[in-house]
């Protein structure tokens, strides 16, 4: 499939030697969304989540301590930058690195909460994210081995040999492992954590990297 028929015709391709960054309508719109939500994480105060005291009519609002807030805000911003990078980069290996960074940051965002259930969920998620680096980096290395290049623009051109389907599947598997956050929502332990602007960064970054990997897999 042609590159222009997928994410639109690229406006601009920026090259640093063999690394490259490219701006197509698709990547730019995803990038801007990551930027907007990172700005929210920078500026917004965390909400004070209202909880009902069990067995009575009393309710109270959870407070987020300043130290916890600082750390989680930092992690959320780092996560935003990592997903912005993953949206724009045109280099397979950089892409995988950014994605594993998103994985670490997502773990970091929830791990700072002082709640055993939340930390347990973060730990399990971390194990999945870490083991997902095997298919992720493996796929990048196999792409380099089978085609001799890691640049997406070169992979588009028909001159380079096609990437095997198995390798694409490995790449998708890796991204799915790193971006597990939305699926952990089903357990609700992770999202029980207060701090909306930061928790939202988890699910946003996961969705964004899913969306980008679809494009990457279709074009290479």
């Amino acid at each position: 499939m042609e590159m222009s028929s997928l994410g639109g015709i690229p406006y601009y391709i920026l090259e640093f030697g063999d690394e490259l960054v490219y701006f197509s309508p698709y990547t730019v719109s995803l990038f801007l969304l990551a930027l907007v939500f990172t700005m929210f994480a920078v500026m917004a105060k965390p909400e004070r989540q209202v909880d009902i005291a069990f067995g009575g009519d009393a309710y109270y609002a959870k407070e987020t301590s300043l130290q916890e807030l600082r750390f989680r805000r930092f992690m959320a911003i780092a996560c935003g930058f990592a997903s912005m990078g993953a949206m724009l980069t045109g280099d397979i290996f950089n892409f995988t690195l950014f994605i594993s960074l998103v994985g670490i940051c997502n773990v970091g965002i929830v791990a700072a909460v002082k709640n055993r259930h939340v930390q347990n969920a973060a730990y399990q998620y971390g194990i999945v994210a870490l083991s997902a680096t095997v298919p992720l980096f493996g796929a990048a290395a196999l792409i380099a081995a089978t085609t001799g290049t890691l640049s997406m623009v070169e992979l588009w051109s028909s001159a380079t040999p096609a990437v095997p389907l198995v390798v694409k599947a490995l790449l998708v598997l890796g991204v799915m492992g790193e971006g597990m956050a939305p699926f952990y929502a089903a357990k609700a332990e992770m999202f029980r954590a207060p701090g909306a602007p930061y928790v939202i960064m988890c699910s946003l970054s996961s969705l964004l990297i899913f969306l980008r990997v679809i494009e990457v897999v279709l074009v290479i």
Binding site: S100, I127, L130, V134, A144
Partner: protein, 200 residues
């Protein structure tokens, strides 16, 4: 050559499958953390099989990300299990209560400084790790982090010298060697003290 690469990839994948199987079967959180390292190594194996300069350039970030994730996870584990408040007073073994650790550490550090660069940093770092583990420590995380940051900046600065004023390459070389030596040493010593002793 393609033949050899295919065999190598096959072997690495078998290793990865074994490691993943172990990870799935294991139920204890700490053991899973340890097994993760095994899993991680196989991904480095696939990259290493490329056998080019590119592979070398790719392994380093891969390794760094892997180690960072591992450290973060072990930290979460420590907090999750409430090991944070446990006081750690060094290894309580009779032999290393004497001056032996000091001498060994000094020797290792001197040798490391002579070697310089990445390897030297590793050797010297080992000396520091050994000293800390033997003697207990009252470390100052901020200080160690600052030293690491400054040495990293020196390293980067040296690269700029290489790029813009190559006449001074000798100076830049020494700067880079010392920078990376300090950085690796400090990083290693940090990992020796990470199972905190509640005095931060």
């Amino acid at each position: 050559m393609w033949q050899e690469f295919s065999i190598g990839v096959l072997l690495v994948f078998i290793a990865a499958v074994i490691a993943f199987f172990a990870l799935v079967v294991e139920k204890d959180d700490l053991h899973r953390l340890l097994l993760l390292d095994l899993v991680e190594v196989s991904s480095l194996g696939i990259i290493a099989l490329l056998g080019t300069d590119l592979a070398e350039a790719l392994i380093l970030p891969g390794l760094v990300v892997g180690i960072a994730e591992l450290l973060a996870l072990s930290q979460i584990y420590v907090i999750k299990e409430g090991f944070r408040d446990k006081v750690v007073q060094g290894l309580n073994i009779e032999v290393i209560q004497a001056d032996a650790p000091l001498i060994i550490s000094v020797l290792l550090i001197c040798y490391g400084v002579v070697l310089s660069g990445f390897t030297g940093g590793g050797v010297a770092g080992l000396g520091v790790v050994f000293y800390f583990m033997a003697r207990g420590h009252r470390e100052h995380f901020e200080l160690l982090e600052m030293a690491s940051g400054i040495s990293w900046a020196t390293w980067i600065f040296a690269f700029f010298v290489f790029m813009f004023i190559p006449e001074y390459w000798m100076f830049a070389l020494f700067l880079a060697a010392i920078g990376i030596l300090l950085k690796v040493m400090v990083k290693l010593s940090l990992s020796a003290t990470i199972w905190g002793d509640g005095n931060e």
